[in-house]
Amino acid sequence: MLANEKVFEAVKMIVSLALALLLTLVVLFIFSETPMESFQKMLFAPMTRVRYMGNVIELMIPLAFAGLATALLFRTKLFNLGTEGIFYFCGVVTAAIATQTMSNSFIHPVITIIVSGLVGGCIALIPGFFKAKYDTNELVTSLMMNAILFGLGLFVIKRFLQASDVPGVASNLFEQTARLPIIIPQTRIHVGFIILIVTTIAVHVMLFHTKLGYAIRMTGLNKNFAKYSGMNAFYLFLVVHFMSGFIGGIGSSVELLGMYNRFQWSALPGLGFTGALMAMLGKNNPFGVIAAAFAMSYLRTGADIMARTTDVPVEIVAVVEAVVVLFVSSQYFLRKYHERALIKKGGERVE
């Protein structure tokens, strides 16, 4: 059974998670007075109440958007971490539009989200253009862009949107017409969840069922092959960057309109970087990213509940995250068993 590549990957994921949890347990035994209780809280508490499950989903939405945006770039073998800056700056754009008065509560969020997406896409074109035209290292440019966008966003907020009655970084309150409605009572799960699902399906269809997706995947797998086949890397790099920025922009907007009543990020939110993690854990597959985002949110919510109800600090969840990432990203972890299974099976005779 382990001989099958897909089964093997799944088993590897489960074993990684189990090992990470085991390690967490060890840590809990050292630092907690009530290790078993804390462990149980972390693992099972999110399931016990609708409200907690709601927390998981709310938390998952921005992570998944950031993951999707980054996965597209990674698929094309572009190591671009610019989703972070785009999340921040598009948040500012969202605040700018959401604080305007508009009468229609359907048009208002729709315009906000689309404009935010377009701005995100255009911003992403900058490192994309330099990559395509001059083969600049996109990691460097995207990280620089993050710093620039943060500074620029902060300036715009302070200069034009700062609420006079609130200290620190804060925009005026969003108009009620702009807020995304809640779809499941007793939780804060908002329409953004539906937007996420639609986006995921769209990305999946684009990647696996269109010409563009085919060209993106081939370029990512072998750039020389793509060039040889006549695919235009210049155009592809621009398109992929735009799409990634667009998804990042939507994600940022959806998060703000769904969860907050004003813009209050005084630092980069960290969502973009977590997005890179989601992309990696989800193997750059849209549905994989969703699953990874769900798992991560579940763990974080569990850790949060544990921190509130026991003597263990929330940071413990970082241990689990780190260990899972370590094992899942390892090419050699459990390889031996995979190979042994292959030998037992006698291997495939290709000739």
Binding site: T210, N222, S229, H338, E339, I343, G346, G347, E348
Partner: protein, 519 residues
């Protein structure tokens, strides 16, 4: 003690992607013999050698070295036990001198710390003399010919006191003259007590030099024979299990009155002021195969890359019939009717990680029959892929298998199938059968001739003399970026004579060369 220096018992190797490279192999190597291991590419020769040399470890079975079982965990251990290997692709540092390359990693030292350059030169000079290699050890490797580089590689193993020397396809890159010189050296090594393991799929060479021959097929050993006990015909049968036709003349239809389909004029290329291509002009008629022979690295691959659009041209022009395609992008060139089988199938020919059907459509994936308004027509793609797999007898579990699970020959068939399917007017085939099994190679040759018969112009670039001589209608020879010979009728020329052109000893006068562009 017995006189076997190396014994392999029941060796099996299965790679992590599930491919069985070797199955229950038993071979013994005697001290002081030249032992050839022959088989088609993909028969598992290289894998077997990698295990002896410690680069790979066997999944099961034993390697016994001088009577003791060994399990090398890396090539360093193999080297220390007196096993040396000369790889197909040289592992030399171009900016170092010959002497520096030879002593690299085991340098003679001054005061235990500093490299003793004088001693290095002295030791390597003596070594070269001892083994009758004519080499200037103070020269930089970058300036050497391929044959000389190979000598450096061999000296490297001898410097490390190799008793067993593994040579992986050593003659693949050599001219006939260089090959002969190598054989003289190998025989000398044998006299001196070294064991030579000679990997090849060129049977005449194997027959010429070996004491014993082990034949491999499909990852298994078909037995070890004394050279005098087996004929070439018997070997061929064991290797492929059937006779192969090596002459394709009967398949070629005669084509009178053909117009020029592809014309290249005055192509030039300089890389860092060094001329790589000098005033290349030639033409191909429709329904004709023009071969370009020559030792590798004489400008052929640059020529092909420029023609196909992967390298920018610096001077010259080329056209398909009357359409000038010089300035076209790769995509535009393809749409104008140019197809291209690249030299390196893993680098350009396929995308590793993608499946067979995805690799079969990359050069025409935007074609109408494969696409709907927005979505790709998956049914169309898979039925096309299935029919291509069938037509080219590509051995794969199905169209959804990963391309890397196929053997080299079948991967190459995928590339050829795709390029044939673009329905080109002109096909550039660069080393179309390099490193693949005889069966697949024959299949691909027949396909090329089939295309020729349906009026496609074909440019066949190959370092394999047999290939260009068997398949082409006319022949050009390239040497140092120039066309030095145009051979109108291949039957009029011998391999020896071609070798002289390839090495730059002879060249035709301008008048004869004009024939290349059909004036």
């Amino acid at each position: 003690m017995n006189d076997y220096i190396l014994q392999l018992t029941d060796i099996t190797k299965i790679y992590s992607n599930g491919v069985v490279a070797n199955r229950n192999i038993n071979v013994d190597f005697k001290k002081g013999e030249i032992h050839s291991v022959v088989g088609e590419n993909g028969a598992g020769k290289s894998t077997l050698m990698k295990m002896i040399f410690g680069i790979e470890s066997p999944s099961s079975g034993q390697i016994i070295h001088k009577g003791k079982e060994v399990a090398f965990s890396g090539s360093m251990e193999a080297i220390l036990s007196g096993i040396g290997m000369v790889h197909q692709h040289f592992m030399l540092i171009d900016d170092f001198t010959v002497a520096q390359n030879i002593v690299l990693g085991m340098e003679p030292k001054q005061k235990k710390v500093f490299l003793d350059k004088k001693a290095a030169i002295k030791v390597t000079k003596e070594l070269a003399q001892k083994y009758n290699f004519k080499l200037d050890v103070t020269k930089k490797v970058s300036g050497l010919t391929v044959g000389a580089k190979q000598k450096v590689e061999i000296l490297k193993t001898l410097y490390r006191d190799a008793e067993v020397i593994i040579l992986d396809e050593p003659t693949a890159v050599l001219t006939p003259q260089e090959t002969e010189a190598l054989f003289v050296n190998l025989k000398q090594f044998k006299e001196m007590g070294h064991t030579i393991i000679f990997i090849s799929h060129k049977l005449n060479e194997v027959k010429q030099i070996s004491d014993r021959i082990t034949i491999m097929q499909n990852g298994e050993s078909r037995g070890t024979f004394n050279n005098e006990d087996i004929t070439m015909e018997q070997m061929t049968e064991l290797i492929v299990g059937r006779k192969v036709s090596l002459f394709y003349d009967d398949l070629k239809e005669l084509k009178p009155e053909r117009s020029k389909a592809f014309e290249v004029r005055n192509l030039d290329l300089k890389v860092q002021d060094v001329p790589v291509l000098k005033d290349i002009s030639f033409a191909i008629r429709e329904g004709e195969i023009l071969g370009i022979a020559g030792v590798q690295e004489n400008g052929q691959s640059e020529l092909v890359q420029i023609l196909s659009g992967l390298l920018p041209a610096q001077g010259g022009s080329w056209k398909i019939f009357e359409e000038d395609i010089t300035k076209y992008s790769v995509d535009q060139k393809r749409h104008a009717g140019l197809a291209y089988i690249p030299e390196d199938r893993m680098k350009e020919g396929v995308a590793k990680g993608a499946n067979v059907s995805e690799n079969l459509i990359s050069t025409f994936f935007d074609r109408q029959d494969l696409n709907g308004k927005i979505l790709m027509n998956q049914k169309g793609v898979s039925s096309l892929a299935d029919s291509m797999i069938k037509m080219f007898s590509i051995k794969t579990k199905n169209a959804k298998s990963k391309i890397e699970s196929l053997s080299g020959g079948n991967i190459q068939k995928v590339v050829v199938a795709r390029e044939v399917n673009t329905q080109p007017k002109v096909m550039i085939a660069e080393q179309p059968t390099r490193g693949i099994d005889i069966g697949s190679a024959e299949f691909i040759h027949k396909k090329l001739i089939e295309m020729r018969n349906s009026n496609i112009a074909i440019l066949l670039v190959s370092a394999d003399l047999n290939e260009v001589m068997e398949v082409s209608d006319r022949l050009l020879v390239m040497y140092e970026g120039e066309i030095v010979a145009h051979i109108e009728n291949i039957k009029d020329i011998t391999e020896k004579e071609l070798g002289l052109y390839m090495l730059g000893v002879k060249r035709q006068d301008e008048e004869s060369l004009k024939g290349a562009y059909l004036c």
